[in-house]
């Protein structure tokens, strides 16, 4: 690590505004770190040795823990998510910055379950859906759930109970606590923005001097919220158990919504609120016997494997990612929907004098090769299959191209045209596979003939619509 340089990982998204204002008050003079920022690399007008980089909030604790960055600012939820699994990592919490405060709840909409004790008394496995799988596991252990399983999610945990999960860990700010018809039964964590540091850098670089102006610039704060001060939601919003004949279809949220909507429309499948401006994740459909939920495409294969959905529209990249992790999973592709064509590629910096993945192991680098990817299981298998010499996986959550060359050596990423990669001075050295949107289902036997018929009909209709569009 460069001793003179000071590296800080800065959040984008919900923390950006308050963080930028705080650092401005502290006199850091960051150039271009604001809501309009289009840059990933930030320099300081006042502190020449300072180097900032903008990350997805979730990436920051990992980047600081592994020593790529000296300091970072992110939500305490992501810090605890890391520390609960890796308590001896080199991550240290320096200061609670007390903005963007919120609470992480364990919440449910199961009838009759309104406390941790009631949950503990459940006979069946408690299924917990969460973006925070480590915190979810730790919650289950600390509350002594007897038999539990955790569904790690990319997002939208609130839509899972009660049919796709028994419990969800959901977070929100105090201003706007989203309950989505769920009853919070336990407060897992208070969330607020935190300043963190790498333990080794803290000592070696005397970071306390850097941090002092930030502490001075903090605003006075009000008391953190507690569970007791919150009103319980009306229980009428709970959902009834689903009929076994009903086909459960998962549709993607995010930027896949528009093309998916177009395809469904072509197939004559009409939805009342998709894409939804209000964030409605349960649109209604003009098909009798079909129920729809809108979830992250990343989460769909696992959900189909667990029989929480019968059909889902996702990308082949995410299906492959799932099958790399669980090779004997019952999930399979039913139809290629030919939308959103991308290539999943292996990428390195243009500065590296290599053209082949095998050259990477031959370089004289003694440190482990850092492989960054949103697709950790694909990347892991790719590294293994190509016999990469001693590598380390760095999971990322978006904007992975900015990781090279400083924070990773190899990137496994999807690309449409390769233009963004070229703009970041990166080059493609291998193409792993092509990915398009696809309809997935399970190899599992379907006992209801009505359901089977409806599923076949949807599959055929979508296939036909795909042919017409292309």
């Amino acid at each position: 690590m460069n001793k003179t340089k000071l590296k800080i990982a800065l959040p984008k998204g919900r923390l950006l505004g308050d963080t930028a204002a705080l650092l401005e008050r502290a006199g850091w003079g960051l150039d271009g770190y604001d809501e309009q920022t289009r840059f990933y690399h930030i320099e300081s007008k006042t502190i020449p040795q300072l180097y900032g980089r903008v990350f997805h909030e979730k990436d920051i604790p990992i980047q600081v823990a592994i020593g790529n960055y000296d300091l970072g600012i992110c939500g305490s939820d992501w810090i605890e998510e890391l520390l609960t699994k890796y308590p001896s990592s080199a991550l240290m919490k320096v200061k609670d910055l007390k903005y963007c405060e919120g609470v992480l709840y364990a919440a449910t909409s199961l009838v009759g379950i309104d406390s941790v004790n009631a949950l503990r008394a459940m006979r069946e496995t408690t299924r917990i859906a969460s973006e925070y799988p480590n915190l979810a596991e730790s919650f289950a252990i600390n509350t002594r759930l007897k038999h539990f399983s955790v569904f790690p999610l990319w997002g939208g945990a609130e839509v899972y109970p009660p049919d796709s999960a028994d419990l969800a860990l959901v977070g929100g700010t105090t201003k706007d606590l989203p309950f989505y018809g769920l009853i919070p039964i336990s407060q897992v964590l208070s969330i607020s923005a935190c300043l963190i540091a790498n333990r080794d850098s803290w000592k070696a670089k005397e970071l306390n001097k850097m941090v002092a102006p930030i502490e001075k610039a903090l605003m006075p704060q009000k008391a953190a919220p507690t569970l007791k001060s919150l009103k319980r939601q009306d229980t009428k919003t709970r959902y009834a158990a689903q009929n076994k004949d009903v086909v459960r279809l998962a549709l993607p949220d995010g930027h896949q919504q528009a093309p998916t909507h177009k395809l469904l429309d072509k197939a004559g499948i009409r939805l009342d609120d998709y894409p939804s401006e209000k964030g409605n994740r349960r649109p209604r459909v003009n098909l009798e016997g079909v129920s729809i939920k809108v979830i992250r495409p990343q989460d769909m294969p696992l959900q189909v494997a667990n029989d929480n959905f019968d059909l889902a529209i996702t990308g082949r990249d995410w299906l492959t990612e799932h099958l790399c992790q669980f090779p004997s999973s019952p999930v399979k592709e039913l139809a290629d929907l030919k939308l959103g064509r991308v290539k999943v590629v292996a990428v390195v910096s243009q500065k590296l004098d290599i053209t082949d993945i095998r050259d990477l192991s031959k370089s004289e680098q003694t440190l482990p090769i850092r492989v960054a990817s949103e697709y950790t299981n694909i990347a892991d298998r790719y590294a293994r299959d190509n016999r990469l010499n001693r590598y380390r996986l760095i999971p990322t959550w978006g904007a992975s191209e900015a990781f090279l060359p400083e924070d990773a050596d190899l990137l496994i990423e999807n690309t449409q045209t390769g233009r963004t990669l070229a703009q970041h001075n990166l080059k493609i050295i291998d193409t792993l596979f092509e990915s398009t949107a696809c309809l997935i289902g399970s190899k599992r036997h379907i006992s209801s003939p009505a359901k089977k018929e409806m599923m076949d009909s949807i599959t055929k209709t979508l296939h036909r619509a795909t042919e017409e569009i292309s």
């Binding site: 001896s88 002594r144 759930l145 038999h147 399983s149 696992l302 667990n306 669980f326």
Partner: protein
Amino acid sequence: MKIQMSKGTRDLSPKDMASFRLIESAFRDSCLKWGYQEVRTPTLEHLHLFTATGTLTPSMLSKVYSFLDWDGWSGERVVLRPDGTIPISRLYINSMVKEKLAKLFYVANVFMYEATGKKTRERWQCGAELIGAKPPLADIELVMLALEVLRELKIEGIELRLSHAGLIKSLLARLDLSAEEQIGMFDRILDGDTKALEKLKLKRPKLEKTIDSLLALKGKPSGFSEELKGLFAEDLPECKPYIENCARIAEFLEAMGYKYQIDIASGRGFEYYTGVIFQIFKGEEKIGGGGRYDALITLMGGKDMPASGFALYLERLMALIKPSALSTPQSPRILVRAEVARAREGFEIVWRLHKAGYRAECYVGVQKEADFDWTLDIKDKSPEFILTNQAKKRFKAQTTEELLAFLGK
């Protein structure tokens, strides 16, 4: 250059393994003599086996090595076995449930994360479980078995510390703590927080007398039982059977000349204990422990079965034994050095020497004569067999029969 190992792991060298096997065989011999049968359970188990019974404390569960298997899409994790007793109870429920008495033993590794990396994260245990027998005789048998193993290993200066899970729980029940607090306090005691009860005393001055008398038990020498019964008849009458239970074991230990302490506040171990808990110390080091777990098999879904068990910590014993004082004399070691044309015959002779009870091996170009009691040269010309001992004394033979006849003497 040394290749960096995974933190908290260790190699067992040939010398270490010799100690390891000495302990293992002393343990096996004693167990077999007492009528125990050896079993082995898999290294991988479902995590829920350990969470379902509520029998490991959250702080222990947070240190288990768990992961998703290649077919773990349901989110259920598997673990590297963190404990020996729970898998044995599972084995009993699965395949021995008709047996009214199961006396089982195992030598197995258990895995538990340890943050500093200074202690090992993989540990070996010699464990024995007695399923189907009630206190106090079954508990005494287990203590006797453990002590016999230690005696065979010539480890002296052993001290036992006795506690009782029932006693700790009764006391906690009296402290008007909430159910959560009670569990939390019990966990702290089991996690080895010996000050837990003392801290409680400060918070609840009214209970000072009861807690004081309990803490005062620590280190009380022999003859404690009458005194104790008096103390508790008034304050905690429900504890009488527990104290009697401890007293019976104490009497035996005393009669056998072993040192022991009553140390109620230190029940370090596992939450599945329901009765007497015993810990074996050599100096300040705990080298083993066990106790009664009557509720475990029911909690795991089996029938109501009394059970108790113990484990000795193999690595700690390795540091305490003197292998030279324990090893039995070994047969002479012979190096067989055959000329190229007679190599096959060399190997055949090695076989025959093994059959005759010798340690023998063929020369592979590296061994030193000094490491062997005898060196046997097989020549093309007569005399074909020349046996040389370390004092350079020679014996010559024409046939293998002649040679073996000589070695047979």
